[in-house]
Amino acid sequence: MSINRTIQPPFQSIDSIKLIEPEKIILNNAIPLYNINTGTQDVLKIDLSFDAGSWFQEKPLISNTVNEMLAEGTSHLTSMEIAEKLDYYGAFIQSNPSKDFAGMTLFTLKKYLPETIHILEDIIKNPVFPEHELRTYISKRRQSFQIEMEKVSNLARRKFNEQLFGKDHPYGKNPNLDDHDKITRADLIDFHEKYFHAANCRIMVSGKTDQETIAQVNARFGNTDWVNKTKPGIISTSINETIEKDAFIKKEDVTQSAIRIGKQTINKHHPDYPKLEVVNTILGGYFGSRLMKTIREEKGYTYGISSFLVSLKNAGFFVIASEVGADSARSAIEDILNEIRKLREEKVSPEELKLVKNFMIGDMMRSFDGPFELAQSYQSIIDLGIDNAFFNRTIDAIKTITPEEIIQLANTYLNEKSMVKTIVGKFD
């Protein structure tokens, strides 16, 4: 019996996704704990998140350094002892510094939770930032900083942030090499005291959790002995008055130039956001996107190109990022701008829209498949203070958005004429 291979087997659009919402528990000291109990392996992931990102620092690099040095020595354990114990129990810790948040993630086998959570507690509550460890950390960081500064993608990202927000804005400010030498132990102790305490903390526990797991987390982090009453000061932000619309940084001997194109736009708090995410996906948010089709698959200018909507706590922006052949930067930019223009002027075909809708729902299924994936998805909205119904609104937006709405949203939020451009490398 021969089969017809030219026709796709019957498939279904996915109507609904099983969302396992985290159970919210308030600890004795008022820390919200979010519990996700699912999965097949006897493992756990514990995330502690603090409003302690670089947004809050008064000097460059302080937030990052505090976060990355938490495990470099406490009032009870040396850096070596911490590393030794975590390695022995096969546990991993990861610091998560970003512009808005800072925190620590512990990955541990469930059977060793009593031992490993004890260490997590110590590094969160009692770090001492030993002077000699700080010196070692800084000399390492100086070197890796200088290596990063050789990469066109990093140079472009820095410049782009500056163009979007301004050199002195907490989201636009970039650290320099000299700033490494200005970090003092007192800065770190001060920042830790202000921001790493219970009143500023959220906890997410995921994996095969049970009552005992929650009880242990509560015993370590639920007490009132680490609540700091001092409120962090108000952060002053300057408005970026003079926008440098097109920036070009020349770099000799490159084989590729880095391109960034984008603008400030709405973040996840805005009701239009879920539908704008569909618009972004069509343009550059998946492998089959228009930018990938044109810049990679038709022109062969690049190995990859993507666009993103980035939601910060106090802002949002849209960005297109790519590295293109050094001689192709000018043509690539023209083609990119043209793709945005088409999105504003021409109706998306029903076929393309259906494909993007189905892909996005499938992608949501993937981002809710498994305990750690669920934790990551929910943490991304909880940190921003957004309710769980955000995901239902997103599903709804994907299902109902029309070609007319896409044109309207693209015109409102993604007009290429209002975007800044950054090029690092060669430009004709």
Partner: protein, 412 residues
């Protein structure tokens, strides 16, 4: 323990089925037993270039990605020196689309000069992005031919020379397909909330009609034993010196593989490891250092690579590394330390089995190594390594004559 079922179609396609009721998605992994080691030395980079062409439409289906995305699926692939691996995740309900797509590109591709030209450009940009436009990005392109004089591991998957990609002809590409892509040279592995019966039905329906093909006979020369130290100095526009030391190790099939893997963990897995504690924290000769094995099927390499701190000479840095390697042989590792790296391995193994895709990939790879069941003996294999094994293997491994060293020097 990962439980699975296994069957072979008449055309030689091996199929593995793993039931994981915890997920609403299905992972479909198709491994082809062809990698960069199977390439003609005059036409390198073909396995990887071919991977790109596999997404350009097949004999009956003009686009691979569109119908998959329409069914809510996502896919990718990678090429190593040993294998080319394709993988898809999609909602369980739409599983058949994956079988339809994968079986069609196993029959034949929709080859054309235009598609080949475009993908040549994309691969050249990949080469630019990953190897040339990154500081230290080309180190392995030089380290490999220093360590291997005969074996095809001397070139990276991107190829020996990018001109091989630039000059690739459609005929050579078609030949490559006919000699390596076939049901009798592939392993299909499926994981999700599925049964053996439904997978068997789908496999017979979509892959069953594909004829088996004559697979190019693998005739890979064995790398002769290295008898003198080898060195190479590169000068590049980078901010700091770096050093790479490559030591020949056993093949994936020998017990020595697990021993050597644990040696690399003693040296650099985790912040408590020897190289990090001594050379980054204590001496501060390096800003970063790593020891890892290449994980190849034939005889591979254990590579130590480090970025040297400004002001420290190659000589001091290298002596310090060799000194630490010497300590693995001299008698100061105890059961506690060996248990530590074994615990860490076991933990990584547990975390690695959290999602269906990882499990499908691991099952297919272990089947290629001879038996998918091996996946369930991995932890035991590592647990069985003794202190004596470590000393004995390290003595052979860290012989100066077994080492190729690349000095990656800053220009100025």
């Amino acid at each position: 323990m990962i439980k699975f079922d296994r069957f072979i179609l008449d055309n030689g396609l091996k199929v593995i089925v793993h039931n994981d009721p915890s997920t609403t998605l299905v992972a479909v992994n198709l491994l082809y037993n062809v990698g960069a080691r199977d390439e003609n030395p005059e036409m390198t980079g073909f396995a990887h270039l071919f991977e790109h062409l596999m997404f350009e439409g097949s004999i009956h289906i003009p686009s691979f990605d569109n119908p998959l995305q329409l069914a809510g699926g996502e896919n990718n692939a990678y090429t190593t020196n040993d294998i080319t691996n394709y993988y898809i995740t999609l909602p369980k309900k739409n599983l058949e689309t994956a079988f339809w797509l994968e079986s069609d590109r196993m029959i034949s591709l929709d080859f054309s000069e235009e598609k080949l030209e475009i993908q040549k450009n994309v691969v050249i940009e990949e080469y630019n992005q990953r190897y040339l436009n990154q500081p230290y990005g080309d180190a392995y392109l030089f380290l490999r031919p220093l360590a291997y004089k005969v074996h095809p591991y001397q070139w990276a998957t991107i190829g020996k020379d990018i001109s091989h990609i630039r000059n690739a002809r459609l005929k050579d590409v078609k030949d490559f397909f006919m000699h390596h892509y076939a049901p009798n040279n592939a392993i299909l592995s499926v994981a999700g909330n599925i049964t053996k019966d439904e997978i068997e039905k789908l496999a017979i329906k979509w892959f069953g009609p594909i004829k088996n093909r004559d697979i190019a006979k693998r005739n890979i020369p064995r790398e002769p034993k290295q008898t003198t130290p080898r060195t190479l100095t590169l000068e590049r526009n980078v901010p700091f010196d770096a050093i790479y030391k490559a030591y020949h190790m056993s093949s994936r099939m020998e017990h020595d593989y697990f021993i050597t893997d644990l040696i690399s963990d003693l040296l650099s897995n985790g912040k408590s490891s020897r190289l990090y504690q001594k050379l980054v924290k204590e001496n501060q000769y390096f800003s970063s250092i790593d020891a890892s094995i290449t994980g190849d099927i034939d005889e591979g390499l254990l590579v130590i690579s480090g970025k040297i701190m400004k002001g420290i000479s190659f000589e001091i840095a290298e002596k310090a590394i060799e000194n630490e390697l010497g300590k693995i042989i001299s008698d100061n590792i105890d059961d506690y330390e060996l248990n530590k790296v074994k615990n860490k391995y076991e933990s990584v193994h547990q975390f690695g089995q959290m999602n269906a895709m990882n499990k499908a990939m691991e099952l297919a790879y272990n089947e290629l190594l001879g038996d998918a069941e091996k996946i369930n003996r991995e932890v035991e294999n590592y647990r069985n390594v003794t202190l004596n094994d470590i000393r004995k293997s390290a003595l052979i491994l860290f012989n100066k004559n077994n080492c190729s060293t690349l000095y990656y020097k800053t220009k100025n």
